[in-house]
């Protein structure tokens, strides 16, 4: 269940001191250089001697190979982000929690998919990443829901309650999960920027800039996916409020024509950062390069957050992003090795801060 602790003062000094020490322990370029030349077994051994030791040992009896690495990464990221929520108080808690709620969305979506596909609750449980605001007891309650309807009822008191209840009616009519999943993601993204305009400081401006870039990039990603799919879908249904790049009307016009959309992005404030991604999108008709460019650009914006405003949300968010990136990179290396991708291909996929 959501336990908001936004009342009272923020404890920036304490949280930031702990975050700094955690950030110092993240893998550096040398570690990635070593990892990229290792096979999955060697990567697992390397992780056993690193920050991930306790998770690797705890999960070693249940999983093996790259699955063990992935589950250990998920459990480790959950532990670290849960610590952040435990440490933070007051407004700082609210700032951290609003970003980490994406893991609540992940967990709810995972449980919904499990219920929909009739998967055992124990199998669904292993796929959860307990890094969000929902505590273990509430997640266990959600896991034990017997149906999607029951799950929606359990989530009623949370911030996802209303959007889910609305989407559930559509789900009942159509029998597909799309409305439920979209409602959860929309609630997360639209909640990201709600109520942030009050505090005026450069650090807060950067935080807001980063979050709006995240919303813009999500809209951009989805607009290109819709344009590429060629399906007769109303782009405004997939528009997320809160970004600065598009209005709902603009996205409705642009998502029908990829070339116009590319031109629009080129002339926007993101044009320069996304130039290489847009070029490859035009050349190859694949969005993968472009999405990588979006990830890299988002990381670049997050880079501006780190260290400049020591007593603000910026170092905390920068740490969250760096940790997520570390987990993504290790998983990409291990899965890439398992899937037989070449060193160059894997290197190409990594986004290193």
């Amino acid at each position: 269940m959501s336990t908001e602790r936004t009342a009272g003062g923020s404890n920036y000094e304490y949280v930031i001191a702990r975050v700094r020490s955690r950030r110092a322990a993240l893998f550096d370029d040398d570690d990635y250089r070593k990892l990229i030349r290792m096979g999955p077994g060697e990567i697992a051994r390397f992780m056993e001697e690193s920050e991930y030791e306790s998770e690797m040992n705890a999960l070693g009896a249940r999983h093996s190979g790259v699955d063990l690495i992935e589950y250990a990464l998920n459990r480790n990221v959950a532990k670290h982000f849960d610590d952040l929520l435990q440490w933070a108080d007051g407004q700082l808690y609210g700032y951290v929690a609003r970003y980490l709620r994406k893991f609540d969305v992940w967990n709810v979506k995972t449980i919904i998919r499990g219920l929909y596909a009739g998967t055992d609750a124990s199998d669904v449980e292993t796929d959860l990443i307990r890094a969000g605001e929902f505590d273990d007891a509430f997640l266990d309650q959600l896991l034990n829901a017997g149906s999607i309807e029951e799950l929606v009822e359990l989530l009623e008191p949370t911030r996802f309650g209303d959007p889910l209840a609305e989407a559930y009616a559509v789900y009942e009519d159509e029998g597909v999960l799309v409305p439920l999943e979209n409602a959860l993601d929309r609630a997360f993204y639209e909640d990201l920027l709600t109520g942030l305009s009050g505090e005026q400081s450069r650090a807060m401006e950067l935080y807001v800039e980063f979050l709006s870039a995240e919303v813009d990039f999500r809209n951009l990603r989805n607009a290109f996916r819709l344009a590429r799919s060629g399906a007769d879908l109303d782009p405004s249904e997939y528009y997320i409020e809160g970004g600065k790049l598009f209005t709902e009307d603009e996205i409705r016009q642009l998502a029908r024509n990829r070339d116009q959309l590319v031109e629009f992005v080129r002339s926007s404030k993101y044009g320069e950062d996304l130039e290489a991604g847009l070029d490859s999108l035009e050349a190859a008709d694949s969005l993968i390069e472009f999405e990588r460019a979006l990830d890299a650009a988002l990381l670049e914006y997050s880079g501006r957050l780190s260290n400049r405003y020591p007593l603000s949300i910026c170092p905390v968010l920068a740490y969250v992003l760096a940790k997520e990136r570390e987990v993504d990179n290790i998983r990409a290396i291990a899965r890439g090795r398992e899937g037989g991708l070449s060193t160059d291909e894997i290197e190409n996929e990594l986004v290193i801060l």
Partner: protein, 231 residues
């Protein structure tokens, strides 16, 4: 076997009829075999193209799903796959190629648009879209390959059967019938020769008897004349 056949004229006529029928059947089957081989060669070309597309699409789909698993994580990819319960539908009809019934497979709901794949659009990525798309394309190619390769297999079976029939006619039935025909003809000729010989013998015997009768009659006449003269 030739020895088992009764060498009668009736059998010879029956065998001649069978030879004529078998030769006609042999010609027809040979034409059918050649036609089937030509059709088979066309299907073989198509099957080779489809098989090469299949390998290509499989490699591409594997590459894309490996990429998606690497960048999004296996859990995310499995989750996106679990969000879809609707299965593609296949209907089979049949078509006739030179008497061979081959299947014609129609598929629907294989290719899906972005909102039909079950997972939400707002929280997923193009990597998952492209992996799903690659697998939809692979599935379509598999269905086409199943259709073409089944047709090819059925054609091959039919060619094999026709070839066996042609060979059986050419190398077994027709030679046997011809040998029987020859045997009966020889036997009949032999019988005819025997008959002629027998007739000749009978004729000679008859002539001999007539001659003896004639001589006896002449002798009797001579004796009668001598008795009369003595009187």
């Amino acid at each position: 076997m030739a020895k088992d056949v009764k060498p009668t004229r009736k059998n010879l006529m029956a065998i001649e009829d069978r030879i004529e029928l078998s030769e006609r059947g042999h010609d027809t089957l040979e034409k059918k075999r050649d036609g089937l081989i030509m059709e088979f060669m066309d299907i073989l070309d198509q099957a080779q193209d489809v098989r090469s597309d299949l390998n290509e699409n499989y490699d591409e789909a594997q590459r894309k799903i490996n990429m998606a698993r690497a960048m999004e994580g296996d859990v995310a990819v499995r989750g996106a796959a679990a969000a879809l319960q609707e299965h593609p539908e296949l209907t089979t009809e049949s078509k006739n190629i030179m008497g061979v019934v081959v299947p014609q497979i129609e598929s629907s709901k294989v290719r899906k648009s972005l909102d039909e794949r079950g997972y939400g659009v707002l929280g997923t990525s193009a990597r998952i879209d492209e992996a799903a798309e690659a697998y939809e394309e692979l599935l379509e190619t598999i269905i086409l390959a199943a259709e073409v390769e089944t047709a090819m297999k059925k054609m091959l079976d039919e060619i094999e059967t026709t070839k066996r029939r042609v060979n059986a006619l050419e190398f077994k039935l027709l030679p046997e019938l011809k040998s029987n025909q020859e045997y009966i003809e020889q036997k009949l000729e032999e019988q005819e020769r025997e008959e002629i010989f027998r007739m000749k013998k009978i004729k000679a015997k008859k002539e001999e008897e007539e001659k003896a009768e004639r001589e006896a009659a002449e002798q009797e006449a001579e004796e009668a004349e001598t008795v009369t003269a003595d009187d």
